[in-house]
């Protein structure tokens, strides 16, 4: 009998597991895949370790800012800053139809860029920043539109869209618009605090977290899909695994998303409102280092858009290459240059179309759209196709298969269950569908739900 069973070995599940195990709860994490990490994981192809999810972490903060989300997170997990070798971004850029805004982890840079590119709007932009600084996004209130808030203050639509794109693509479940609270969280995470990543790969980061979890006595089982949750007298009393084994527990925390959790427990409600619309295709290419000088060696992430209106929504076609993200995971300050430069491209994709493809046509369609994504990125960073030594892509269908996120919606639906509660008194939710997004957000989600609901509960021994 475990005190706590955690479904999903992604970052929210591992963070939750560390908290629970740290204070003596007998804890088991069940992960269906053969690697941990969930949405932020890795796989091997032809000797290359390729990361999924992670482009950069947000919310960089110096060690002295004790209450910054990053430092609070590390303290909660009983980890020390010196255990991580953190590298800040070099600079990122938002490029729309020939206009550009550069930003770094120093917010002064973005303000100067707004003054340069949108001189008529810079005073208004300063007011927006001030309002954001004074807005408390964590007190529950009626939903407000971020687009409306921005339109009330900024009168140049292109500036509004340029500011929204990075925040949406790294943490907005909703199509077209964004909840104002979520906008404020993301604005601070990206434009005020900024991007960084730990040295090494996501595997190194996951290994470090899992060592901490194991040191506190936590257990993890990989390749261990859950077939369903077991209910007795209105409470969950464990899980039945795909191979028939039954694991009993006093409490269960699901990070598999609301639709998948509903399936596991016969939740008497429709999963439909909780299925998100935004999913992505990601293409990874490797090019030899010698070509890298021509490929934006001084940029960490590029956010681009070409054409009229920015369409942050599920595209009509398989892929929308009119906007996207190009990330250079090797371009963080102080990282040793690798032999091969990695370029990662993200574009919005239509899950329903990808799902309908037959196994025969899927590879060919994927090749075709990978080409389209590469061609779109070459317009931004110059030609590199002829020097590609390795490339791979994954689609919304791949994301769904490996992460159980319904329809590959990496940010879930815009409807969140913020208190993490379910119709069962000892079944809780954490992760994407609880409401904090991104790597730092999902880990804080796992921590918060364990703090609020699980640690405070008395446990038998």
């Amino acid at each position: 009998m475990y005190h706590l069973l955690i479904i999903g070995g992604g970052l929210s599940g591992i963070a939750a597991g560390i908290r629970a195990a740290r204070f003596g709860l007998k804890t088991l994490i069940l992960e269906q895949h053969n690697h941990p990490g969930g949405l932020n994981s890795y796989y091997f192809r032809q000797g290359h370790l390729l990361e999924t999810g992670l482009h950069a972490m947000t919310n960089f903060a110096p060690a002295r800012q004790k209450h910054a989300p990053l430092n609070r997170l590390l303290r909660q997990l009983n980890l020390r800053r010196r255990q991580f070798d953190l590298h800040e971004q070099i600079a990122s850029e938002i490029c729309f139809n020939g206009r550009s805004l550069l930003f770094t982890n120093d917010p002064v840079v973005l303000e100067a860029e707004v003054a340069r590119e949108f001189p008529r709007s810079v005073d208004q932009f300063r007011q927006v920043k001030e309002r954001i600084a004074n807005h408390d996004p964590f007190t529950a209130g009626p939903r407000r539109s971020a687009r409306q808030f921005l339109a009330d203050h900024l009168h140049e639509q292109e500036l509004v869209d340029m500011l929204l794109l990075p925040l949406m693509v790294y943490g907005n479940a909703e199509e077209e618009d964004m909840d104002l609270d979520q906008f404020v969280i993301m604005f601070r995470a990206i434009f005020v605090e900024g991007f960084f990543r730990p040295a090494g790969t996501i595997r190194d980061f996951l290994d470090l977290l899992l060592r901490q979890y194991h040191d506190f006595g936590g257990e993890l089982r990989l390749r261990c899909p859950v077939a369903g949750l077991l209910i007795k007298n209105g409470r969950i009393n464990g899980a039945q695994l795909a191979d028939g084994e039954v694991v009993t527990a006093q409490m269960v925390l699901s990070t598999a998303g609301i639709p998948e959790t509903m399936r596991l427990v016969d939740w008497p409600a429709s999963p439909q409102p909780y299925i998100g619309r935004m999913s992505f295709m990601e293409t990874v290419v490797l090019v030899p280092r010698e070509y890298s000088s021509s490929l934006s060696s001084n940029r960490t992430i590029l956010f681009y858009h070409e054409g009229e209106e920015l369409r942050y929504r599920r595209p009509q076609d398989y892929l929308d290459t009119s906007w996207g993200v190009i990330c250079f995971p090797g371009n963080f300050s102080g990282l040793e240059p690798a032999d091969r430069l990695q370029v990662r491209m993200t574009n919005a994709a239509n899950y329903a179309l990808w799902k309908k493809l037959t196994p025969e046509s899927y590879p060919q369609v994927k090749r075709q759209w990978t080409e389209a994504a590469i061609a779109a990125s070459e317009k931004m960073i110059g030609n590199y196709r002829s020097s590609i030594v390795y490339q791979d892509s994954f689609t919304p269908v791949t994301i769904e298969r490996y992460t159980r996120k319904a329809e590959g919606a990496v940010y879930g639906s815009s409807i969140k269950i913020k208190n993490g509660m379910t119709p069962w008194p000892n079944l809780y939710l954490a992760g994407t569908d609880q409401g904090f997004l991104g790597i730092i957000g999902s880990m804080l989600s796992g921590i918060t739900i364990v703090n609020q609901h699980i640690l405070q509960q008395s446990y038998a021994d």
């Binding site: 060690a63 004790k66 209450h67 609070r72 303290r75 009983n78 921590i447 640690l455």
Partner: protein
Amino acid sequence: MTRNEIKDILLEIIADIDEEADFASLDADAPLRDQLDLDSMDFLDIVMELRKRYKLQIPEEEYPQLATLTSCVSYLEPKLKDV
């Protein structure tokens, strides 16, 4: 446990939560949270660590009694007298 032992345990627990915590100028009769810049999540960790180590159940309504180092020691003294 003596009052001094309890105090040492508390400082050890706080140091494990925040290794930067500076005890040199700590006023035992002033609120810990303000002096050490602890937030509510850090504070929960002190309570959880006491529970883990000594099986102490501290109900939420009694948290105010843990405000200062001196009040913590006074609150814990009867509960830890046999430890």
